[in-house]
Amino acid sequence: MNNDNIIGANAATNPAAPDYTANSAANDPLDFDDDPLSATGVSRKSLVIFFLIDTSGSMKGKKMGELNTVMEELIPEIRKVGEADTEVKVAVLTFSTDVRWMYSTPIPIEEFEWARLRASGVTSLGAALKELNVRMSRNGFLNSPSLSFAPVIFLMTDGYPSDDYKAGLKELQANSWYKFGLKAALGIGNEANDNILAEFTGSPDTVVHAYSGGQLAQMIKIIAVTSSQIGSKSMTLSDDTSHELGEEDVFAAKQKLLGQQIQELVGKTETDDVPFDTGW
């Protein structure tokens, strides 16, 4: 075919126009799939939710049973959270004597299936934080070619770390994904130390505590759903529109919002727990 004849009307009528095409050669309408209706989905942003779960011996029994059940139920709820423009993936790291990933790579929420966990061993939180630091990188679990939101990192534990958690945390704190990530933690039962958890999340607002089975289920849902909602969306307009926003106004805005919302929701459930005959 003679190339001169099939120059597109674009190029023929407007030779002086700037070259908008990716291909700087003549705009030959037949050298690519030119069907205006065939498109792939709009490229989505990705969000990885990391669950760090204590599976030490002390979690055995009711706590583990409750946790497994609520996590199974939670997955479909998080599925609804992932909006059209965000692809949500889940990675689960368990720690007891050893640290172990539930799956070798983050799994899209549509396909994720919860593998029931068992409890035994000690609480190697430090090792878990180190492992998280290694995987939380472009070469590790955060390798999506398109844009990513900062990850959500949710830690659940019921005991005092049996290893040097400070060393692990120090390594993790140097990781930028951790720095920008949304961090929340849940202490389970009397042994868990909220101060250590606040060291992990960076503020006491994003730490909650569950003392009973019912509370455990509630708190896991509150934290997981709220943090994935906030994490999978872009920043929203600030309350104060009287001045131009600067970087300092928006820095860690999502983490602050997460703290506020968790505290609000936890506050609500606490008042709901008051028996009908008290507080008069």
């Binding site: 095409t21 309408p29 030119d34 498109a39 709009v42 070619p145 860690a252």
Partner: protein, 447 residues
């Protein structure tokens, strides 16, 4: 009382009770339920007033919107308010989305998830426009609905991909989430959805208004046609992790259009933005230029943004330049070969198409079997862009003879090979021939 229970009854302001049947979905401001009221099914939006900045003013605005009524039937408008509860919670009911409409979000994703009622598993189902005409018609409908809204002195405020339902077979559009619509200049706390918000709103120096709606409208149109984000290119992708400050930068302080002719720092990236790269080659220059203006000078100067009427004219032109070739290739005229000023040729099968030139416009309309003329194209006073006024058809009694049928309710005149103009009454037609001239009244056309 932020959440309603299934089976619970909610009293409406003007009497009657709506019973909650199920949850339809939830958003930033509240939850939408399926309810029964007066024996019919409706949607009930129930607000979480704790999440609202100005619930009282919001309610007042909602009430006046209900009183004003929708600007046009393309809006799923609030119908009746519920009675306020003791703690000030309220909601409203509206019509349910009719069958056959898909959400804009599903169109952008190219699929939707349908849950199999037996297994509970979600199955992917394709969501795609069935024709190019349907897609461009949807664009015209979107633009037109915002034109009507703005004419009524109101702004939509949080225009985004969640705001529309579209029929992919006809291009019909329904605008939903109409509860933030407010008189231009007022705002009751909504900011908008990032990526769709005008840069001045992202930066915190303006509140949503008619001008910021225009920016968001350009984003919606760009996403629908180019299937990508107008501001997401190399510069943004290099950031890898989208933090709050990088969003402020890329969508506010330093937003750069991916095809800014004077700034190549944010071009689309192959492998990530393939849609945008492909479609930028397909659309004709006048469409691309409108987007360039919206996203370059229109970023800093809101008054330079394309007005709805201008978009409407551009897309009515684009619809008239679609060619459906007999070989199955459908595309815009700009993607066909133009052997002479007055003809187009299919680069695939070689078929040639004549064109009609009109007395009131500079571009020519290609003619092919099945192409339609709309009322607004034949009659300068008409704004009816959906009403078919004429169609190119094959004569039922003389197979192989093509002609134009008058589907309008006015008389036309057409010149026949004998040089005489004949009256063409509504319902009648005339053959297309090389010296054809048509007199539509004020507008004249010729081959």
């Amino acid at each position: 009382m932020t959440e309603l229970e299934i089976g619970q009854e909610v009293e409406l302001e003007f009497g009657g009770k709506a019973q909650v049947l199920s949850v339809i979905g939830s958003g930033g401001q509240g939850t939408v339920y399926l309810v029964r009221f007066n024996g019919q099914k409706w949607a009930l939006k129930w607000y979480d007033i704790d999440k609202m900045k100005k619930p009282k003013e919001f309610l007042k605005n909602l009430r006046s919107n209900i009183a004003d009524g929708p600007p046009d039937n393309k809006f799923l408008w609030p119908k009746y308010l519920t009675k306020e509860t003791e703690d000030g919670t309220f909601g409203y009911i509206m019509d349910l989305k009719p069958e056959g409409f898909d959400s804009f979000v599903d169109i952008l994703n190219t699929y939707k998830l349908e849950v199999d009622p037996l297994t509970g598993r979600a199955v992917k189902k394709d969501v795609k426009f069935s024709s190019l005409t349907a897609m461009i018609t949807a664009v015209i409908n979107i633009v037109n609905s915002f034109r009507l809204l703005h004419r009524a002195g109101k702004s939509y405020q949080d225009l985004n991909d969640g705001g529309f339902f579209i029929n992919v077979n006809t291009g019909a559009v329904l605008v939903c989430d109409c509860d933030n619509i407010a008189p231009d200049g007022s705002n009751f706390g909504i900011g908008g959805k990032p990526g769709y918000m005008a840069p001045e709103v992202v930066r915190g120096i303006a509140q949503p208004n008619v001008q910021t709606d225009k920016y968001s409208l350009a984003v919606v149109l760009f996403k629908l046609l180019f299937r990508g984000d107008p501001m997401e290119g190399e510069k943004v992708v290099r950031d890898v992790c989208l933090t709050e400050s990088s969003e402020l930068k890329h969508y506010g302080q330093n937003a750069i259009f991916v095809y800014d002719p004077n700034d190549a720092t944010n071009r689309p990236v192959r492998g990530i933005h393939d849609n945008v790269i492909k479609f930028w080659r397909i659309y004709p220059d006048y469409i691309k230029e409108a987007f360039i203006r919206s996203f370059t000078i229109g970023i800093t100067d809101p008054t330079k943004r394309i007005i709805e009427n201008e978009w409407q004219k551009l897309f009515i032109r684009l619809r008239s330049e679609i060619i459906m070739c007999g070989c199955g290739r459908t595309n815009f005229a700009s993607m066909f070969v133009q052997p002479t000023e007055k003809t187009f040729k299919c680069p695939k099968c070689g078929m040639e198409f004549s064109t009609l030139g009109f007395s009131n416009r500079s571009y020519r309309m290609p003619l092919y079997l099945g192409c339609k003329f709309y009322e607004c194209e034949m009659n300068p006073e008409s704004e009816e862009f959906m009403k078919v006024a004429g169609e190119l058809v094959e004569n039922k009694l003389k197979p192989g003879v093509l002609g134009i049928k008058n589907c309008s309710d006015r008389k036309w005149r057409a010149k026949m090979p004998d040089g005489v103009f004949y009256d063409i009454a509504p319902g009648k037609g005339f053959p297309v021939w090389q010296g054809l001239e048509i007199d539509f009244g004020e507008i004249k056309a010729q081959i």
